[in-house]
Symmetry: C2
Subunit: 350 residues, 2 copies
């Protein structure tokens, strides 16, 4: 696998398949791990960071789950490529920014990715399409267990897994689900729901993680607590609440269809008309309009567009993806033109 | 010819043919005439108004130009039909509102129409597609001359034709051209141009005459002065100024295409996308979007839409036209749905 091939491939988590994939885009598990008796990344000097880098790299190379995976040393790839990986949710924004001995290992169909020397020595991520916390967790757990046979993890019988940031200590597990909630936004219920979720010890974030806005009515719901609860309890709790949010969105969709169908249909088709005809368009406007079209597809108002095509567009219209597709650096105005061209092209195909 | 047939016919002035019809929609001549030794309409009692009505009706019936025309006694048609005639520019808003012995005679392809007992006893109107003041005037003049052989007009050798409102006295002639000036609006030159035109003794009005706004970038330019100048001088002056406005719009189009083509193309195609996909739409929004599409057709940016189809839509989407097409009274919400449906239907046809 090559980095440049990724842009023409659909990652598994955008396939639009899996349970409840009309509302739950993808499920994700992230485990933070550190090597025993080794300084955390932000305490380590160059030499120590290099040692960690090599140890983890070797262990991953021997892991059965990561055969044929793509190893990317971040110091060897361009800023554009790093931003491209951020857009694909394969590395964090911080991982792309910070210099040093840093890498990411990307497995088949981008289901598995492991960041080396991000905040922790290892950040194991598994991502799948749809509402599928359990399978996602099982895979993450098996990767973790196999890596544990090759690496000596920093683990305390009192505290659990030790992490650079104390808020991750314990299970060092973060489970999340990316949800598309246009009708809860439209019926102005999201404020109330975010408030309730936060009270239950979960966190709600935007499309690009911490500190980002809920562009396109996408919300990422994840557990906040990692300490003092077993993994299965944390995930059961997360699943239960996600299910409730799912049901709320479903009933908001139903009631909007019953009470306000014409207005909804009008909004959805206008979004489609604009996307299909614009010649200059920003990322933000595109994400909002695509959100509306996706809702239309999910609610069976737009029938002849494939959900996977829409999901892919969310990614392809991002700045670095556009530039990877074009094979050159584009300024903002050039991107707005190319983005519109790409969308018109993609929406022609059924 | 029947009133109900009009809605499915294209009036000549909307054909989008004739000189400069990309910018000059239509040319119009209106002559006000009154019977000698007879009170003006607002001074006349019922009996006198009826006498005027019958005299004028008989004279028109004998006129060669109005063979096979449609005579409509306004007291015998519904408010919807009257509003429909206003939308087609066949009668004035005031003529539709005021009770009494009032009528309109409509000639073939709606080129000629004569209002009986509007502000004056006769208002002779001739309307043609494109920038065509001279031919329009010639026809109006011939109708007037023929009617003068049958009717004794109120005429003073000092003042010329006498009219109910002194501002019309003299030639009682109003010539006008309906112009589509989107690029002068876009480049913010219209204010300056209206100011200059007004100083030259002409008037600029909106799509529906006096007191209406310039919806859809349509402006009606007409002479203000009727007294103290011969008809040919008035019309030469009007023609000359319209020609200048035409040239200004042409050069604004050229410079926008040179300097801002992408933005223009984007705006035009977005308008098209919205119109082609909306499911609820008001008259005002439609007129603005159609204006943008017409500009796109005229500037060769949209190639596969016929200008006549766009011109027709300006009329068909009006409230009374929609109701005539549906054959029933529709409330505002119903019209917004039907309007969107009609537009989607019409834009499917090439």
């Amino acid at each position: 696998m090559e980095l440049n091939e990724l842009v023409r491939k659909t990652c598994e988590w955008l396939k639009g398949t899996g349970p409840n994939s009309d509302i739950a885009i993808s499920s994700r598990i992230r485990l933070a791990r550190n090597l025993n008796k080794t300084p955390f990344v932000h305490w380590a000097n160059k030499k120590q960071e290099e040692e960690i880098f090599n140890k983890v790299k070797d262990a991953i190379a021997q892991t059965s789950f990561l055969k044929g995976s793509l190893f990317l040393n971040l110091s060897e790839i361009s800023p554009l490529d790093k931003q491209f990986l951020v857009e694909r949710h394969l590395i964090s924004y911080e991982h792309a920014q910070n210099p040093g001995f840093k890498a990411v290992v990307i497995g088949d169909r981008e289901i598995i990715s492991i960041m080396i020397n991000e905040e922790d020595h290892l950040r194991i991520q598994v991502m799948r399409s749809g509402f599928n916390i359990q399978d996602t967790w099982k895979l993450a757990n098996r990767i973790d267990k196999e890596l544990e046979t090759k690496l000596d993890y920093a683990f305390s019988s009192d505290w659990g897994y030790l992490t650079a940031c104390p808020t991750n200590t314990g299970t060092a597990l973060r489970g999340s689900c990316m949800m598309h909630l246009p009708c809860l936004v439209m019926t102005k219920q999201m404020g109330k729901i975010i408030h309730a979720i936060t009270k239950l010890g979960l966190t709600v974030r935007g499309l690009y993680g911490e500190g980002t806005e809920a562009a396109g009515n996408f919300f990422q719901i994840s557990n906040q607590v990692t300490l003092g609860q077993k993994e299965d309890i944390i995930l059961d709790n997360l699943e239960r609440i996600i299910k409730q949010v799912l049901e709320h969105e479903q009933s908001a969709r139903k009631s909007l269809l019953e009470q306000n169908k014409a207005v909804l249909v009008d909004q959805i088709w206008r979004s489609y008309g604009t996307l299909k005809n614009a010649h200059i368009i920003t990322t933000d406007e595109t994400v909002e309009l695509l959100s509306s079209i996706r809702m239309g597809v999910d609610m069976d108002i737009i029938k002849d567009i494939n959900r996977q095509n829409i999901n892919e567009l969310f990614l392809l219209i991002q700045p670095s993806h556009l530039q990877k597709l074009e094979g050159k650096i584009l300024n903002s105005n050039e991107r707005d033109l190319k983005r519109a061209e790409l969308i018109r092209e993609k929406l022609k195909k059924k």
